[in-house]
């Protein structure tokens, strides 16, 4: 039993699945890390992603092009983040509550839209919805292991990893990243340095909206070409967690996202053994707690205390 678990856990297909499942988490997390670093408590990932899922298929349905779908997704992502920004920055509402309200209504709104536009409940599936097609790298064909893990994915999967590098460079090599980090640590100081704090907060928020929306597009247009109610299934929260655990550092976030993706992949392969799925499904969430726990071990002093 243990042996077959190990075997399954280490097969190329598990890693290939990890590679793909990491994509939606990475997009959201890379877009959101600036927002997080700028000191904004934003939990609306789930909402942006779900809206984008719906509008992506709508765009693709109307035009037959996944790229238009992507644009529609990004458009709605921007719109939602503008709503968030208006509430949070202009009307100074509590951001946690705005996030909750957006998340909780996203399911209702998209479902209602689905009923109104497509006249179905549950899921929308239609031939006119076109997904991205996988890219085949001839070069990789000759290397068997890499081929099965990395080859034949849609462009977004590769882009998500490019995003990590891009986010890292922006965060640590550009004035923008430096300023965002400064704002997160001492917004008043940044303000006195003549930095338009509001502007930077807005930009980082819009980045979050844009890229979390790409995650949503990935979910619907990566081959399944369909939208179903609540299809984000908690991925938004995983984005948020990986940013928080990775403390906004894109490289650390990548590690955390891969861990989540890997544990999701495990759920799928271990299902073939007769381990109850409910138990396996807990893995990603227990993994978060364990990662945090091991991360926090260094703070352990033997007694309960709160650092002040």
């Amino acid at each position: 039993m243990l042996k077959s678990i190990l075997e399954l856990a280490l097969t190329a297909s598990t890693f290939a699945a990890t590679f793909r499942l990491a994509c939606p988490i990475l997009f959201g997390a890379m877009g959101g890390c600036f927002n997080h670093t700028s000191g904004c408590v934003n939990i609306a990932y789930e909402a942006v992603m779900l809206y984008s899922c719906f509008f992506s298929i709508l765009g693709s349905y109307l035009t037959g092009s996944p790229w238009v779908g992507l644009l529609c997704g990004i458009g709605i992502g921007l719109l939602i983040s503008v709503v968030f920004g208006l509430m949070a920055f202009v009307f100074k509402a509590n951001t946690l509550i705005v996030g909750i309200a957006l998340n909780s209504s996203a399911w209702a709104v998209t479902t209602l839209l689905m009923v109104i536009i497509f006249n179905v409940r549950g899921s929308v599936y239609n031939e006119r919805i076109v997904s991205f097609s996988p890219i085949h790298f001839k070069l990789l064909e000759k290397i068997p292991l890499l081929d099965s893990i990395f080859n034949n994915n849609i462009i977004l999967v590769y882009l998500s990893f490019v995003m990590v590098v891009a986010a890292f460079v922006v965060m640590y090599k550009t004035p923008f990243g430096l300023r965002i980090r400064g704002i997160g640590q001492n917004a008043q100081a940044a303000y006195t340095a003549g930095i338009d704090v509001e502007k930077y907060r807005w930009i980082s928020l819009l980045l979050m909206g844009t890229f979390t929306a790409v995650s949503g597009t990935f979910l619907t247009l990566s081959g399944i070409s369909m939208f179903s109610e609540n299809m984000t299934a908690g991925r938004g929260f995983l984005c948020m967690c990986s940013i928080a655990i990775g403390k906004g550092n894109p490289l650390k976030i990548l590690l955390v996202a891969l861990l989540f993706a890997y544990s999701q992949a495990l759920v799928l392969v271990l299902g073939t053994l007769s381990i109850p799925t409910q138990i396996i499904s807990m893995i990603p969430y227990v993994a978060v707690i364990l990662v945090l726990f091991f991360n926090g071990l260094k703070n352990f002093k033997g007694t309960a205390d709160i650092e002040v």
Partner: protein, 378 residues
């Protein structure tokens, strides 16, 4: 009035400009929110080709139209108050307990078990269930508490993740362990534990409706919390711990203990809520019944501005909307999701910082006035 602080406040009331401002701010806040709420709701209903007036009437009918409707509204009020109270305890003291749903789930599950498998005289049975459910919720909240206190790990994420764990764990226990494993075919409804014994059922508050004793229990909880924060030393310390931990620590407050109390109290109330829901409404534990309860609770608590007494009223309105939405769907062809949408729109509208906006506007006006005066002098 006996004490000076109060007489001081009372004396000021009426004359005090700040008091006046507060009134205006609250009027603005609820006025604008309700108007926007009605407006958005009407647009959504019109979009579905129905009359907003009819919808409103249906909602009102469903919430207060008859004994049954009032019972329904009250029935929903109870869990709203309980989860809201759990959120207030946590958030007022600076603890981001996002794990309310998980604690409700665990409490509900244990209530389902004890209700179905232990036999006891009615009163003892119900008491035992409520206490055990509370303790279960409390224990579930111990995990983020320990991680926070011993390892300095923020509870924001751990408590959120534990919701999923609680959900899957109870699913596993219900569907696989209790149902006797995959290959049995014993129960009719696999998503739930067996129905609780009649001795475990929470008696009705209004006979023939779904309002049970859960309502007074929830009221007691809310009032107790209000009392705790307003009049007790314990509540004073909790509040200070929440607002400035270092200040409290220097002042000699046992912060670790208080922090733990916050977690445990919040968890206990959540767990109790789960137990009461199960033996009051569902009569069995349904997997995933608490999915949205945590978020609802936090939203309601925030609308009530973390004030336990306001919480009671907000919960009542929230519940009325919920009960009314069902009637609306029955009577006219408006999807009940509409109500869910406007409910959260309302949350958005009230969360706006009207106080800040008002004060800024006021200051601007005062300055304009001054400038005008200066100009007219010059």
């Amino acid at each position: 009035m006996k004490n000076k602080l109060f007489s001081f406040r009372v004396k000021k009331l009426g004359k005090d400009l700040a008091q006046n401002d507060r009134l205006i701010i609250n009027a603005l806040k609820y006025g604008i929110s309700i108007v926007l709420f009605l407006l958005c709701g009407s647009v959504l209903i019109l979009l579905q080709g129905q009359s907003p007036i009819a919808a409103l009437e249906a909602i009102f009918q469903g919430a207060f139209g008859n004994k049954m409707a009032i019972g329904n509204t009250l029935r929903w009020t109870a869990p709203c108050i309980m989860t809201g109270a759990a959120a207030i305890v946590a958030f007022k003291a600076g603890v981001s307990n996002l794990g309310i749903a998980g604690q409700v789930t665990i409490g509900g599950f244990l209530a389902g078990l004890i209700g179905a498998f232990y036999e006891l005289p009615p009163l003892a049975h119900i008491t035992l269930i409520i206490v055990v459910a509370g303790v279960a919720g409390l224990l579930w909240s111990v995990v983020p508490a320990i991680l926070r206190l011993f390892f300095n790990i923020n509870e924001f994420i751990t408590s959120l993740m534990l919701n999923y764990v609680a959900n899957f764990l109870t699913q596993y226990l219900t569907q696989q362990v209790l149902a006797g494993g995959l290959d049995s075919w014993g129960y009719v409804n696999m998503e739930a534990t067996p129905t609780v014994l009649s001795s475990a059922v929470l008696p009705d508050l209004i006979h023939g409706t779904s309002a049970t004793l859960a309502v007074p229990i929830a009221l007691i909880v809310a009032i107790a919390i209000a009392f705790l924060y307003k009049y007790t030393i314990q509540g004073y310390e909790l509040k200070q711990v929440g607002e400035n931990l270092k200040f409290a620590k220097v002042g000699g407050v046992k912060v670790v203990k208080q922090f733990l109390i916050i977690f445990l109290l919040s968890g206990f109330i959540s767990g109790m809520c789960g137990g009461i829901e199960v033996i009051g409404t569902y009569k069995k534990f349904n997997t995933g019944f608490a999915d949205t309860m945590g978020w609802d609770g936090i939203s309601i608590a925030r609308i009530a501005e973390l004030n336990p007494i306001a919480l009671i009223f907000v919960s009542f309105i929230w519940a009325a909307l919920k009960a009314g939405a069902m009637q609306m769907e029955r009577v006219i062809s408006v999807n009940r999701l509409t109500v869910q949408i406007v409910q959260y729109l309302f949350v958005l509208f009230v969360s706006v910082d009207y106080e800040g906006i008002y004060l800024r506007a006021k200051e601007r006006r005062a300055k304009k006035q001054y400038r005008k005066e200066m100009e007219s002098v010059a």
